[in-house]
Amino acid sequence: MVKELSEQKAGRYGKFGGQFVPETLMTALNELETAYDEATKDPSFHEELQYYLKDYVGRENPLYYAERLTKKIGGAKIYLKREDLNHTGAHKINNALGQALLALRMGKKKIVAETGAGQHGVATATVCALFDLECVIFMGKEDVRRQALNVFRMELLGATVVSVDQGGGTLKDAVNEALRYWVTNVEDTHYILGSALGPHPFPRIVRDFQRVIGDETRKQILEKEGRLPNAIVACVGGGSNAIGMFHPFVNDESVKLYGVEAAGSGIQTGLHAAAFAELKEGVLHGAYMYLLQDDNGFIQEAHSISAGLDYPGVGPEHCYLHDIGRVKYSSVTDDEALEGLKLLSRTEGIIPALESAHAIYRAAEIAKEMKPDEILVICLSGRGDKDVETVRAAMGAENHDN
């Protein structure tokens, strides 16, 4: 029932979504929608996507029973969906691959993308190398600084990385520049948007390419446990790993869904990235959504230790799922995320991405309140290699005390 409601009108999730873009992009969006609709009806497109997902990305990836974490928490049985084991280290490749194949179908040989953590940039640069597409990546200068290793990875892969000085130099500013570039080069360039954001049809396309996370999880948990999980937890930046994980479960009312945003230094400090904590509606980057903004409608900078959650808005489908009460959204601070990162590293020998660490922290709290015969799944959206420097700096003083 919920599913039918989910996209009542093309590109609309309740009152959220839409296509708030300059006229120059409308034709490109309409073309993209048509190309995507045709692709979804073409079995050869699915075959090709499946081939690369399996042999190149390494899917399906495991649904891993985290036994030591489960024992340590002492509540629900905890499973990890291992998106961190994908080629390039995060869920972002699922979408980048799908959209690159779409670009090829549309005859576009140039790709532009934005990146925050650098994971989407790396995934995009990777598929561009694979399919011989020209690749330009926009990245905020603050993110270039804190994700230096990923910048180098993108360049190794042959991409041009452009540092964006405007604004706070984070993800939102990178999207602005990517959009400007796209407007200027729209005739031969496809924009691979990295999250379930932006103008229609992007939120739908990104969700569809990410739903492989939830589809596999569903199949795997049925194989292992013979039943659906009681709860699923995922971190939410723009919302692509979460919507991909949640989507196949939205109609299963017994499965509780939890989205976790970044509370940065704490909601009360104002330095955070939790759009659901303030519930202010507005338009940015082509979509009507919940958005951090002031009384003048000026967009506020998001703050988070994790570059991938550092975005002031949240994808339109999440806004809708929030309003109908299907998904519970909350937020986790920088310090708590670091706790989550240490917890998983030491109990399971898995260093998670800082983004995913937000989900881990909240999931541990939720699991603790659940019964041992209940099941909780965490979407482990990426691995932490890229964050080791940031974590070391953040842990600074306490480095040697344990």
Binding site: P22, T24, N176, G282, V283
Partner: protein
């Protein structure tokens, strides 16, 4: 049909808005329309009055008043930087409109507000339209509001003298152009390049054809804008349309205090007006 609507709304429906009338007056006199763009608040809030009166005195057809925004995706570096300066001066939709209310008696030239959608949403659409009418704003340009999404504003302007100006781009296919032309009020803003506002050296060869086609379809004036920055371009592109809109070059000249550069941009016919 019109009568019916008018009874229903109890007010007069505005089919031909004053902005269109003002531009057509120019065209009928055998001249080209010239609309400069300024960034409201660049140089301080008090500069708004000074810049408007200067341009009015130079005989421009109308003035486009840019509202600064944190995320101006349709703008190039010159206007982005002007916007950042205006933000630092404390400019926002509310204080700009209040400032303008102070000197509305001095303004005869039609004013067009160009704002991204979010500041308008934050202001409140109905409150915003009422304030525009109070201040005497003639038109609105909202670059991130394509015709498909425009109902939220359009429906509030049916009985208002304020015109919602639509943009047409080089990438718009024929059926879209027709759809936009039907909805357009005041004039059609023909975007002359694929891209953002700013300074351009070259324009595509297809521009001539594109503008010609637009003029065929539209029964309101067609003005060309984006990237027009030299007197030669004003003349050349002006010849293909009913007039031009010049943004970055004006913003830059005001910022540099170079008023003679602005005078040089004005088509000669305007000065003779």
């Amino acid at each position: 049909m019109l009568k019916q609507f008018e009874q229903q709304w109890g007010q007069k429906i505005m089919t031909t808005k004053p902005l269109q009338v003002a531009i057509e007056k120019k065209i009928k006199a055998g001249q080209k329309a010239f609309i400069p763009y300024i960034m409201a608040g660049d140089g301080g809030l008090k500069a708004i009055r000074k810049q408007i009166l200067f341009l009015q005195n130079e005989g421009v057809t109308a003035i486009e008043l840019g509202i600064p925004f944190t995320d101006p995706v349709a703008d190039g570096p010159v206007i982005q930087e002007a916007g950042s300066r205006a933000l630092k001066e404390g400019a926002n939709l509310k204080v700009i409109l209040n400032e303008m209310a102070q000197f509305k008696e001095d303004i005869q030239v039609p004013l067009i507000i160009m704002s991204y959608l979010n500041p308008i949403l934050a202001y409140g659409i109905e409150k915003f339209v009422a304030k525009c009418e109070e201040v005497g704003i003639a038109g609105l340009i909202i670059p991130d509001l394509p015709v498909e999404e425009s109902e939220m504003i359009r429906s509030k302007l049916i009985t208002s003298p304020v015109a919602l100006v639509q943009l047409v781009s080089l990438t718009s296919p024929q059926n879209r152009i027709e759809k936009i032309a039907k909805a357009a009020e005041g004039f059609i803003y023909a975007v002359t390049v694929n891209g953002i506002t700013g300074v351009r050296n070259e324009f595509g060869k297809s521009l001539d054809e594109h503008l010609h086609n637009l003029k065929e379809i539209s029964n309101i004036p067609v003005l060309a804008g984006f990237g027009i920055s030299t007197p030669e371009q004003v003349e050349k592109i002006g010849a293909m349309a009913d007039g031009v809109i010049v943004g970055s070059a004006i913003v830059k000249a005001f910022h540099e205090g170079n008023e003679s550069a602005i005078k040089a941009l004005l088509p000669k016919v305007v000065v003779n007006d």
